[in-house]
């Protein structure tokens, strides 16, 4: 291996590390309602879309601002969630593939969530599971999100579980650009986010 090849290998290792951190940092911000910080993790020019569960598809950086800032945060008059409301989204099992030219990447993750949020007048605690298939782009030497897609496997109250109550309720957002593209919760969840990678041995 000559110096140039070696440099390329090191670059790849660094890219994967940075993308893994980006994804986990997104998770930590999300759990703490730091929506402005999340908006800044997305590419200004190259963001395709964000799609979370059945909220619908939001296109471009404009869509990012609409979902995270206007909807989740409450815009310029931020909502204060009560302290008992909680989102803990564990970002687990990342498989990140960087394109040969080193400017784009894709990543699959799974998530385990412990949540508490209001349903009507009642606080409820829930277990959730889901998969990410995300895209990333490198601009000016830094990695950003260019597409985020998270699908719910189930969202179930802790009293009942996924077998008895796979989905606690629908949550489409009224001003999405499009309805959700692949929202099928348990027991129809299989392949609701397709694999971006080829089999490492057989290449299929």
């Amino acid at each position: 291996m000559n110096l140039e090849e070696l440099e390329k290998q090191v670059q790849l290792a660094e890219d994967i590390q940075e993308i893994e951190h980006l994804q986990r940092i997104y998770g930590y911000y999300f759990d703490n309602n730091m929506w402005a910080e999340i908006v800044d993790l997305f590419s200004e020019e190259q963001t395709e879309s964000v799609e979370i569960a059945d909220h619908g598809v939001f296109y471009g950086k404009k869509g990012i601002r609409r979902i995270y800032w206007d909807m989740f945060s409450g815009g310029d008059t931020p909502r204060q969630s009560p302290a008992w409301m909680q989102f803990v989204v564990m970002q687990i099992g990342g498989v990140v593939d960087v394109s040969p030219d080193g400017t784009r990447a894709e990543g699959r993750w799974q998530t385990w969530l412990c949540e508490a949020k209001p349903y009507g007048a009642y606080p409820r605690a829930e277990w959730l599971h889901g998969y990410y298939e995300n895209k990333y782009v490198k601009e000016n030497g830094r990695w950003f999100f260019s597409k985020l897609h998270w699908n719910n496997t189930f969202c179930s109250p802790v009293e009942d579980g996924w077998l008895n109550l796979p989905l606690m309720g629908w949550m489409p957002l009224p001003d999405a650009d499009e309805p959700p593209s692949a929202f099928h919760t348990y027991p129809y969840h299989r392949n609701n986010v397709l694999y971006h990678y080829q089999h490492p041995i057989t290449g299929k």
């Binding site: 687990i92 077998l163 348990y186």
Partner: protein, 196 residues
């Protein structure tokens, strides 16, 4: 550091990355019932695969026997396994040809019990071995130890294990099957990073 030493360091980092991906991909394939893809992740020189109390399956032939019954098996939509491949510690041998890995696996499941559907929590520990052949990493040995397998409603204190699940066509019975609350400590494949 000269170029040769640097190359060795970089190769080590790449090896760890590739092995971590291999393990996580195994998990994703397993969860989506892609068993042929799972089988293809194992070396032709596989030592064994042992999952909970199913028993020991030896060689690549054993890998086939273990998973092949499941290939193409239609799982109803409600029957599912979500096994989260977490917290891997990978140790690559100094010669760069073999490696060990330990992982935690919290899991959500749903499967049939008699005529009823049951939702369950499962937790376990992997102690796996990997081998590099022709520049690629494969599984050489897979061993998953069950910590608990409990009903969603009752929890592991009351019901540590829902039933026994030995496979009749295994080569040998399970070598280490001691679920909660045995206090069994699954041995670490790695050395203490400070004291060695």
């Amino acid at each position: 550091m000269n170029l040769e030493e640097l190359e060795r360091q970089v190769t080590l980092l790449e090896d760890i990355q590739e092995i971590e991906n291999l393990q996580k991909m195994y998990g994703y394939y397993f969860d989506t019932a892609m068993y042929q893809e799972v089988i293809d992740l194992f070396s032709e020189n596989t030592e064994s695969v042992e999952i909970t109390d199913h028993g020991v399956f030896r060689g690549k032939e054993g890998v086939n026997r273990m998973y092949a019954g499941m290939v193409g098996m239609k799982r109803p939509g409600w029957m599912f396994f979500e096994v989260m491949q977490s917290q891997g510690v990978i140790e690559v041998a100094p010669d760069g040809k073999t490696a060990t890995g330990r992982w935690y696996t919290p899991s959500f499941e749903c499967r049939p019990f008699g005529g009823t559907k049951k939702q369950t929590w499962q937790f376990g520990v992997y102690n796996n071995e990997y081998v590099k052949e022709n520049g690629r990493w494969y599984f050489k040995k897979l061993h998953w130890n069950l910590t608990y397998w409990t009903s969603f409603e009752r929890g592991f204190l009351k019901v540590p294990k829902l039933s026994d699940t030995p496979f009749p066509h295994a080569d040998a019975p399970a070598t280490a099957y001691h679920p909660y609350p045995s206090g069994y400590h699954v041995p670490f494949p790695f050395r203490h990073p400070v004291t060695g």
